[in-house]
Symmetry: C2
Subunit: 435 residues, 2 copies
């Protein structure tokens, strides 16, 4: 079956209720979320920051974000969660556990968006996490672990909430003015956080039993292969290099071809070399020259300088650095050939964050129990889960993005896929709670 039928999924949820109230022992493995409800909540959430042309602009800390957060908190309370806002501004909804001395299981995502983003990135995981809590409440499930639904604040502009949660938000970042001139501390206050007590939000390594995040893939692998679930191996590391090639700007009419020191020719060869070298080894690593600026940039002037970015991503830092070593060695040959020079700086590094093998196995078991098709895959995009991986076992569940489109009003994850994802999350949390 290519896609689970939406009505059949809803029917399964109803039959789950029948099981609980039936004659045999409660079989929680048959429990299903209410697919219609979680998709309706996604639709309801999409009102906050809705763009005329579709999608949302629910940028963190804006009125649209604050409205969306209020909506989410209401849903969380209706699901029986004890809701609070932590010092960083994350929304925390807790369901107490029955066992003593066990660590909490966390699950959630974010509801802030990029400007002119879509209705699924973050929202699917957030609404599904609440739906899981609601379902457990309706089932009167007695969870052993404390279960904590988290809506992380400000994922899109730099994982602010999850970094605060693991104690990785430097004080300077709170006080220095952002691009809009407003310090982060002021914005955190605006949404009910308390930046003066940031230490209260901090969680040490070993303080959680697990963190599980459901998210849209934001790539086209699942959609193109007709698969229903992605089980995330890990979140790739990112190295971002700023490269500058120095040539000599000169008159494009009076400077003979053999007298040029054209920085753009060197940049063009380097751009092609990045692509070739990244493809030259097996694996799912990616490499991109995404920004390239030519100076002075006039039709009649030979480019004297080009600034470009080389971004490399992989689950293995070793792979990234060995790719860069090859790119850099070839770049030196290239610039020499064009009588140019180069310098570079490693602008930004994200370490890879591998998912926990046990959590991964539990997700795979949940997927199998739901009779869904799946694949193990890396996450090419960053997520709050990469921060949580630093304090405890992490797992991520992906659902398909139609055509891989994301950060766009055209972003789409089909309702049946949302329901599938929410069911995998439910069954994963139940399995983790009972191990």
């Amino acid at each position: 079956m290519r896609r689970r039928d939406f009505l059949r999924t809803t029917a399964a949820a109803v039959s789950g209720v029948a099981l609980r109230t039936g004659t045999g022992p409660v079989d929680w493995k048959d429990w299903r979320v209410n697919g219609a409800r979680v998709n309706q909540h996604l639709t309801d959430l999409s009102r906050f920051g809705a763009n005329p042309q579709g999608g949302v602009s629910r940028v963190a800390f804006t009125e649209a974000d604050i409205g969306g957060r209020r909506f989410a908190m209401d849903l969380m309370r209706q699901s029986g969660l004890a809701v609070r806002i932590d010092a960083v501004g994350n929304i925390i909804g807790e369901r107490a556990g029955s066992a003593r001395n066990v660590l909490p299981i966390l699950f959630g995502s974010h509801i802030d968006s990029v400007p002119e983003g879509g209705n699924y990135d973050g929202d699917v995981g957030s609404m599904s996490a609440i739906e899981v809590a609601q379902t457990l409440g309706e089932r009167a499930y007695r969870n052993r672990h404390p279960l904590t639904v988290v809506i992380w604040c400000d994922e899109e502009s730099g994982l602010t909430g999850s970094r605060g949660f693991i104690g990785d938000l430097p004080p300077a970042e709170l006080t220095s003015p952002g691009r809009d001139g407003v310090p982060l501390a002021d914005k955190i206050r605006r949404i009910g956080g308390d930046p003066d007590r940031l230490a209260d939000a901090r969680h040490a390594p070993g303080s959680i039993a697990a963190y599980v995040e459901l998210h849209i893939e934001q790539g086209a692998m699942l959609d193109e292969r007709g698969l229903e679930i992605g089980i995330v191996e890990g979140i790739v590391g990112i190295h971002h290099y700023d490269v500058t090639i120095h040539g000599f700007a000169n008159h494009a009419g009076t400077t003979p071809m053999d007298r040029r020191r054209n920085a753009m020719l060197a940049a063009a060869e380097l751009t092609l070399a990045v692509d070739r070298i990244v493809r030259s080894v097996p694996g799912r690593q990616v490499g991109t020259v995404g920004r390239l600026v030519v100076h002075p940039g006039a039709p009649n002037v030979i480019p004297g300088q080009v600034d470009l970015t080389v971004e490399l991503r992989d689950l293995s830092t070793t792979t990234i650095t060995s790719l860069w070593d090859r790119i850099h060695a070839e770049a030196l040959d290239i610039v020499r050939k064009y009588d140019t020079t180069l310098d570079y700086v490693l602008q930004h590094t994200n370490d890879p964050a591998l998912s926990d093998p046990h959590v991964r196995a539990v997700i795979a078991d949940a997927v199998a129990g739901l009779n869904l098709t799946s694949q193990l895959m890396p996450s090419g995009a960053g997520h709050d889960a990469q921060d949580l991986a630093r304090i405890g076992p992490m797992g991520m569940i992906f659902v398909p993005s139609v055509k891989g489109i994301s950060h766009s009003p055209l972003e789409l994850t089909r309702p049946e896929d949302v329901t599938n994802g929410a069911n995998v999350l439910l069954q994963t949390i139940l399995r983790l709670d009972q191990r």
Copy 2:
């Protein structure tokens, strides 16, 4: 002799005076300009629009330009010329001729500059033309032809003055607001022109005996080869194509390498192909990708679109179009390879303007008479002379630009080279007048 010695040149000018006042017949072939004076005038002119860091910003129609024009008109009057401003704003200085029914010989250049330009582009030819008139006046020379010194207005932003002079200034260009919001007509009024009577400035083909312009090379050919004079074969034609490559912008983390439609990879190959194809045939043609803009231009987004310029220059339009045909054919293969598409528009065309063979020969004779080293060469840059070539025989004289630097405060033509150029201009005008 690598360089004529400045003092010796000055001495030669003095000996010229001796000849005129001596016992034999007047030998005008020994006449020389006053090298110290023309270089002093260059220095004096450089005060108008002087930049703190050197060079000038004497952009046409600005106060600096108006000041420079006033200075030039004073010099012209002191040289015995009858000075007026024509309807386009060109400064015209006339020295009446003795013969009837002969056409005027024109010579001159411009004194406007690019922003943060140098002290030689245009200025050398303008001050030298005035120096020639002054020398002829001091020699009490009886010219047969009317001799006309012209300082063209607004060369740098599009040969405005010379186009008006040949009747190639469309009315729309006068009335539509420029980049600064001010219509050209208002600016022409500001410098003493009369845009309502533009037809008065117009000169029909066949209305001049010749036009000769002395100019700095703006390239490094003369300087690198240690030559003193360039005799211009012609001014190259320019075809400027705006090319757009359409790919698909996507997440640089989540889109596998084999699923990309990366417009920048196609643009990089095309940039290299332009260079390779232009070099693949013998000749002095040049081709440049000078502007290249990547959209959206973020490190973590695969380029979805690249806009770039391809500029081709040669003395032969046939060469230019055949180069473009090869570039375009290869570009189609390149964009197909990357699953991208392209469109282009021929944004701008300048036809090549060949110098007149007879004027060229006269210049060569003058160079030989001065015992200077020289070379026949194309002008890769555009000049007012290309417009004048459309109404009569045109010739151009180049003097070396140190290291080929131009449109820069670092622009430099050595005083001895300025003197050489002015002497070649003097001897060329004398020969043309007497043929």
